[in-house]
């Protein structure tokens, strides 16, 4: 798979630690919602570092977009967050991954469960669903630390008008008037949001490893078919 050169045309702030890079990549061949790219950085002496990032844009969007969370102890994300600016070039290749993807043909009901920046591939999926005029019943259950940490907050409200059902849970802090969930995703939240196992929802779970393990285990325990649950994990194990 060939490396390609993209140019940063816009940097969109999302939260204090997250921003999106809108890229112009003339050689891009298109992608499916849910896929990712590899990004490669090169230092003047030839030293290189590669990492994977989920694609945030839908296949229909005119520009490729990545959303990057700054990890303080990271090697690549601090560069992408602190240094990379409009006009810079970025080397990437993709699209990568053929399993954690959704197209209208996959059907539903569609349940997307995100922890933190695990929401990124789901932006591609819900935008793809909207762009295709598809009406698959779709719920996004999104766990964030606080309202200020919710990525794509305004856009998700907008997408609610396309029939996307967004349920937020805030795990560390919430406004006084908050009526949503106020804890980490657990069996009770999943029982309330995940449809019943007899409706056989197609479930995608994306987030930090411990988050994905807990959510996927709880779904199986509730009786959901493990073969209908697709997972994508990032970060350390924490164990």
């Amino acid at each position: 798979m060939n490396w390609q050169i993209a140019k940063v045309v816009e940097v969109v702030p999302e939260t204090a630690r997250v921003h999106s890079l809108v890229l112009d990549c003339p050689t891009w061949s298109g992608h499916l919602a849910g896929q990712h790219v590899d990004v490669r950085l090169t230092a003047p002496d030839g030293y290189q570092a590669q990492r994977s990032y989920s694609i945030a844009s839908a296949p229909e969007d005119p520009k490729l977009m990545l959303t990057v969370e700054r990890l303080d102890d990271g090697e690549v994300s601090p560069y992408l967050f602190d240094v990379l600016a409009v006009g810079d070039e970025l080397e990437l290749r993709g699209p990568i991954g053929g399993y954690f993807v959704w197209t209208p043909a996959h059907g539903g009901p569609l349940l997307l469960i995100a922890g933190g920046s695990g929401v990124v591939p789901f932006r591609a999926i819900v935008r793809h669903r909207a762009a295709a005029g598809n009406n698959t019943p779709t719920r996004l259950l999104y766990s964030a630390r606080s309202i200020a940490d919710v990525i794509y907050r305004d856009e998700l409200s907008q997408l609610a008008t396309t029939g996307l059902d967004v349920r937020l849970t805030l795990t560390r802090a919430w406004p006084d008037e908050w009526t949503g969930f106020r804890r980490r995703i657990d069996m009770e939240i999943l029982r309330a949001v995940a449809w019943s196992p007899t409706e056989r929802p197609l479930v995608f779970v994306c987030g930090p490893s411990g988050f994905v393990e807990a959510a996927a285990n709880a779904l199986v325990e509730l009786g959901h078919d493990a073969a209908r649950i697709r997972t994508e994990r990032f970060g350390p194990t924490g164990s």
Binding site: M1, E89, E91, Y99, E213, T237
Partner: protein, 202 residues
């Protein structure tokens, strides 16, 4: 020729570069990657089976497998998601021992490993014979944790780690190559980290 990334210095690791395949970085953590939920099969229901192009299908129960002569393996491992981990310590039974008991048909040139949860991966037979592969059931002196593939996983450290199928339950010997789960989802059919064979076409 890659363009220089303006302002990128990188965080050079104080590691033995000769042990690190291209595009990888060293981690001391042990990240988890999986396509679906972690299976939890009870040990009394667990078996390991060798079938297909063999003289006789052969199955081992958990107690039978773990009472075979185990080897301790100290090895570097390399994940296609870019992390490498040095000097990991495993114990398990060499696939040479198990294949000898099943008596492989000389026509067999490939195998597919299959796992609880439906995962599969394909390998040429020569990639797993001659002290290159194990059914591993212990990591760092402790039973292999379910998130890392326990109770037992295939261990083929010379290839990217998706070939080391977690939750392995058996292998099927074949005369032809049959691409597995990731191999039909865009990843390389062989997966040699030293040739950076990550994706189809690499």
């Amino acid at each position: 020729m890659s363009p220089i990334s303006r302002g990128f210095v990188g965080r050079r690791q104080n590691t033995d570069a000769s042990r690190l395949p291209p595009g990888q970085y060293v981690t001391t953590d042990f990240p988890v990657l999986s396509a679906g939920p972690t299976p939890h099969t009870a040990l009394d229901a667990w078996t390991f089976t060798i079938r297909g192009a063999v003289e006789q299908t052969k199955s081992w129960s958990w107690s039978e497998l773990t009472s075979l002569a185990a080897e301790n393996i100290k090895t570097d491992i390399h994940c296609v998601t870019k992390w490498s981990k040095f000097d990991t310590q495993w114990s398990g039974v060499s696939l040479d021992v198990l294949l000898a008991e099943a008596r492989v048909d000389p026509q067999a040139k490939f195998l597919t490993a299959w796992s609880d949860g439906g995962y599969t991966t394909n390998l040429p037979l020569e990639a797993v014979t001659g002290g290159k592969a194990w059914i591993a059931f212990s990591f760092d002196g402790k039973p292999l944790h379910p998130e890392h593939g326990g109770p037992a996983r295939l261990l083929v450290p010379r290839l990217y780690f998706w070939k080391s199928a977690k939750w392995v339950r058996g292998i099927e010997l074949l005369q032809h190559d049959e691409p597995g789960f990731w191999e039909v989802n865009g990843y390389h059919n062989y997966g040699d980290p030293w040739k950076e064979q990550r994706y189809q076409g690499d």
